[in-house]
């Protein structure tokens, strides 16, 4: 039973990591909290529902297309809504956060008006499960695990090995340094905002069978995003990856051994406990360890 819960927690945890990475990335690069992040998830979920259920498109088409659509939405949002604020005032962090807040309200209510309040969903993308003796894992869950892991690896490589990734890291550590190196700040902001939306589109599509779609479904991912970002350290991608898994496991354990109702409460309490010992999140400690290993 314990192992079963652990595996389930791990799997959902990797999705939380994806959610967290998208959110913490934007915080690191732009120093803002994107309150409309959950709504990007919601849009992807609705899109996936329409594409899969109504248009009968296969998952391997739906997932990439939703990622691309959300990338576009994210980039467009940044360029049309956030950029003007940046150009009007030097101290733009807070006003931009407010714009995302407004956007969140608008998107959520648009969904309410257009989509109606009913819960929609698909039962599952993939039927059946794998029985390993003490652990049973549904193929659905395995698929989720596979997608998350691949996505996390790709994202990590993007950040560490590509020129664009370098520009993202640079901007998050020194704006002046980045500008003087020839990095186009505006382009980095727009593209990473799009990337962030594309990342959260993945759980939006993959978790649809588990969480269903409805106008306010966005509240779930944003809370997880906050939690994982906090655990991992603001702007810290590796921390977010580990944080997501930790959150997933602690949540599943809490749900199984304490009470399903208190699931969220326990997760938050766990978070606060970690923060008491690691006030800046676990990310910085990961970095230290990473250095010790790579140190030549």
């Amino acid at each position: 039973m314990f192992l079963q819960q652990l595996v389930n927690g791990l799997i959902i945890g990797t999705m939380y990591s994806v959610v967290g990475v998208g959110f913490t990335l934007i915080f690191g690069i732009m120093r803002i909290l994107n309150f409309a992040y959950g709504e990007f998830y919601m849009l992807a979920s609705y899109g996936a529902f329409l594409a899969y259920s109504e248009l009968n498109l296969p998952l391997w088409v739906v997932l990439p297309s939703m990622m691309m659509v959300l990338f576009g939405i994210g980039a467009l949002t940044e360029k049309s809504l956030l950029k003007p604020v940046r150009q009007r005032t030097l101290d733009w962090s807070v006003p931009i956060i407010m714009v995302t807040l407004g956007l969140q309200i608008v998107l959520q209510n648009l969904a309410l008006i257009i989509g109606g309040g009913t819960f929609r969903g698909v039962t599952t993308y993939l039927k059946g499960s794998l029985d390993l003796g003490w652990v049973v894992v549904s193929y659905e869950r395995l698929l989720i695990l596979g997608v998350s892991v691949i996505l996390l690896i790709v994202t990590y490589l993007l950040i560490q090995r590509t020129k664009f990734g370098l520009s993202m890291l640079a901007v998050s550590q020194s704006r002046d340094g980045a500008l003087l190196s020839g990095i186009n700040l505006q382009r980095v902001y727009t593209l990473s905002f799009g990337l962030s939306a594309a990342l959260v589109a993945v759980p939006g599509v993959m978790l649809m069978p588990l969480l269903y779609v409805y106008p306010t479904v966005g509240q779930v991912p944003i809370m997880k995003a906050f939690a994982v970002t906090l655990l991992g350290g603001m702007g810290n991608v590796e921390g977010a990856i580990l944080g997501g898994i930790l959150l997933g496991i602690s949540e599943t354990m809490a749900s199984a051994y304490v009470s399903p109702l208190m699931k969220d409460g326990v997760a938050f309490a766990f978070m606060i406990l970690i923060l008491i010992f690691y006030p800046a999140g676990i990310g910085p400690y990961l970095q230290q360890m990473h250095q010790k290993v790579v140190h030549r």
Partner: protein
């Protein structure tokens, strides 16, 4: 106090005193009362975040703590209402201080999310502890502050509280404490080396700010007479924050202006029930994009332009 400010003050005081006499519409008075309550909350959230720099994304939790404490005390122990309300405020204030202690060591945005988490935990507790709080359904039958149906006494009390709160706030900002607050916000290390007890200042301001939120929550409880765990939800915190930022973070009149504006605008769109929130959101986006530093700041700039050649204040 500058001449112009004095004039505005007297003018608004007269306006407030006179309003219930000319406007008997209960609904309108209700909106103004809500406006006054939120203005107070926006002002004191601004003290915490705008002036002190201590981000708090769970401010509504203190509203809820004050409301529930006062309500429960009055229902179960039948304490006189002023005592209940005071205790409501005190419990909120004390909890606020306690929560700030671990936050002192944290990075600012970690504090943001911890405070958010706290509000969520409080909400979950309020929802689950049905024995005490009657859970999701909420507490009803809370004794009202005034006998009779009229909203007028509530109106005067709410605005008196707002006025008192504003006076205290202004006094704090203008005192040595106010200077200490700004010093800590701008450069904590420098402030400490100049002899400012940064941590004490932060805890004090947290206490004051949360205390006021608690009292306001208590007022709300004995006014509306029904409270639900929804009070703790992030929605209210966001509303308070929006009002403060809308009007202009860090300014004095900003939060008050923002509060009344948003309440009236929000309700003004009631007739388009479904579209109300949608328009609310669009409005936020629009106003912030046009006036990123807040309305009060923008008005100030317009004033400067119009008064070209006039005295620089």
């Amino acid at each position: 106090m500058k001449r112009s400010e004095f004039v505005i003050l007297i003018f608004s005081l007269c306006l407030i005193i006179v309003t219930p006499i000319f406007f008997r519409n209960e609904y309108f008075l209700h909106l103004l009362i809500l406006g006054a309550l939120f203005a107070q909350l926006a002002n004191y959230w601004n003290l915490l975040d705008g002036y002190m720099g201590l981000i708090n994304f769970g401010y509504a939790a203190y509203l809820g703590i004050g409301a529930y404490t006062s309500a429960l005390l009055s229902i179960h122990l039948s304490f006189p209402l002023p005592v209940c309300m005071l205790l409501g405020g005190l419990s909120a204030g004390i909890i606020g201080v306690l929560l700030t202690i671990p936050c002192l060591r944290m990075v600012t945005f970690s504090t943001a999310i911890v405070t958010l988490a706290f509000a969520e935990i409080a909400r979950i507790v309020a929802t689950s502890w049905t024995g005490l709080t009657k859970g999701e359904m909420g507490l009803w039958g809370i004794p009202s502050m005034f006998s009779g149906q009229s909203k007028i006494p509530f109106f005067y009390l709410a605005f008196s509280l707002l006025f008192a709160g504003a006076v205290v706030l202004r006094w704090i900002i203008r005192s040595r404490l106010g200077i200490a607050i700004l010093a800590v916000r701008e450069d904590e290390v420098a402030a400490i080396t100049s002899g400012v007890e940064a941590n004490q200042v932060k805890l004090l301001i947290s206490g004051i700010s949360c205390f006021v939120a608690g009292i306001t929550g208590a007022f709300y409880a004995h006014y509306i007479m029904t409270i639900t765990p929804g009070l703790f939800s992030i929605g209210y915190t966001i509303q308070i924050m929006t009002m403060s930022l809308f009007g202009g973070k860090g300014t004095f009149a900003g939060p008050i202006v923002g509060a009344f504006l948003l309440i009236l605008l929000g309700e003004g769109f009631r007739f388009m029930e479904d579209f109300r929130l949608l328009i609310y959101g669009l409005l936020i986006i629009g106003v912030v994009m046009a006036f990123p530093t807040g309305l009060v700041g923008a008005i100030d700039r317009v004033r400067r332009i119009l008064w070209l050649g006039g005295k620089r204040e």
